[in-house]
């Protein structure tokens, strides 16, 4: 892979995140692989296990999110305090801080209804497909439909209030 591209190709071409290094995509795959093993080991890839947590039959899932957040917290803290940048992208190490607005509340509430109804969330659903649970494709299909719907509605709303700049 070469970083330099012909300027004459397409004027609106967006440089992609992974173009900085040939190791970018393999590293993301390795990270995803570990992530997927974690979801399988913890049984979170099984909707029944998530539902048994939400229904107070087994509180073990606290240790899944808690364990993951604890590891990430340590790494994020040390790396972002170092002021250094990531080798494969040149991006500065930062913490994940998103702004609060009413969409965060509304979205969280809607996601909660879906999670409680089905026992699946996006990452766990992909892992569930990995353990051979083909029935989960109903859930993954639903997620794409939902993601499309909110994009469609947001775009329609943005068009009707075209004077307001979108985010």
């Amino acid at each position: 892979m070469s970083g330099a591209t012909n300027g004459e190709a397409s004027p609106a071409r967006v440089p992609e995140d992974h173009e900085g290094s040939p190791w970018f995509l393999p590293l993301v795959f390795v990270g995803g692989f570990l992530f997927g093993i974690g979801l399988a080991v913890s049984q979170m890839a099984r909707p029944e296990v998530v539902l048994s947590f939400l229904q107070f039959a087994d509180f073990g899932l606290i240790f899944v999110m808690g364990g993951a957040a604890a590891v990430v917290s340590g790494i994020f803290f040390v790396a972002s305090a170092s002021g250094r940048s990531a080798p494969l992208s040149g991006r500065r190490y930062t913490r994940r801080l998103k702004s609060m607005d009413k969409d965060v509340m509304l979205g969280g509430g809607i996601f909660g209804v879906g999670w409680g109804l089905s026992g699946i969330c996006p990452g766990a659903a992909y892992a569930s497909l990995g353990i051979g649970n083909v029935v989960i494709l109903y859930g993954v299909a639903g997620m794409f439909v939902g993601a499309y719907l909110q994009g469609y509605i947001r775009e329609a709303r943005a068009d009707s209030t075209a004077t307001q700049p979108a985010d």
Binding site: E16, L27, F33, L34, F35, G36, L39, A40, V41, E48, L54, A57, G60, I62, F63, V64, M65, G66, G67, A68, A69, V71, V72, S73, I75, F76, A86, R91, R95, K98, M100, D103, V104, G107, G109, I110, F111, G112, V113, G114, W115, G116, L117, S118, G119, I120, C121, P122, G123, A124, A127, S128, L129, G130, Y138, G139, G142, M143, G146, Y148
Partner: protein, 163 residues
């Protein structure tokens, strides 16, 4: 005293805690590997929108940041699927299927697709990366979706729907 602790542990964690903790640590390590290499806080739900950019011309999905990240998000998801597959094949329980009704998965999925994108993240983006960053926005979002999910799952159970 120890008997009480043992009983309480048995009541709260009937299947033990070690595999939960190990799984959580692996999820954290996977996130950390991507972060240390690329500086990116990888969440699982943005994949849903960026992947739509391959097929939809809606400008919402054609945002430069979606085009820029869509390829590696496909690779990230493929990695998740492959890791879970490898583990279950080695363990010999590949092919387990859920008893949760397809209609619940589908309608729940729609709400998850809407809610995670509107709310700027899911169990991994907010729950792992955001909480791990000490972000107030993420902590509020996670507390909210967890409380709502508990309420809904309890209602489902109260109506006698299993699992």
């Amino acid at each position: 005293m120890t008997v009480t602790t043992a009983l309480l542990t048995e009541l709260l964690f009937p299947n033990g805690i070690s595999h939960y903790l190990l799984g959580g640590i692996l999820i954290g390590l996977g996130t950390a590997v991507i972060y240390l290499g690329t500086g990116i806080h990888a969440g699982a739900s943005t994949f849903l929108e960026t992947t739509l950019s391959y097929g939809s011309k809606l400008s919402r999905f054609q945002q430069p940041k979606f085009i820029a990240s869509r390829d590696w998000r496909v690779v990230f998801t493929a990695g998740i699927i492959a890791g879970a597959a490898a583990y279950s094949i080695i363990l010999g329980d590949f092919g387990w299927t859920t008893e949760v009704q397809p209609s619940r998965l589908f309608f729940g999925g729609i709400l998850i697709g809407i809610g995670t994108r509107l709310g700027k993240g899911c169990t991994s983006g907010h729950g792992v990366c955001g909480v791990g960053s000490g972000s107030k926005t993420s902590i509020v979002n996670v507390a909210l979706f967890m409380l709502v999910a508990i309420g809904v799952a309890q209602l489902v159970m109260a109506f006698g729907v299993t699992p």
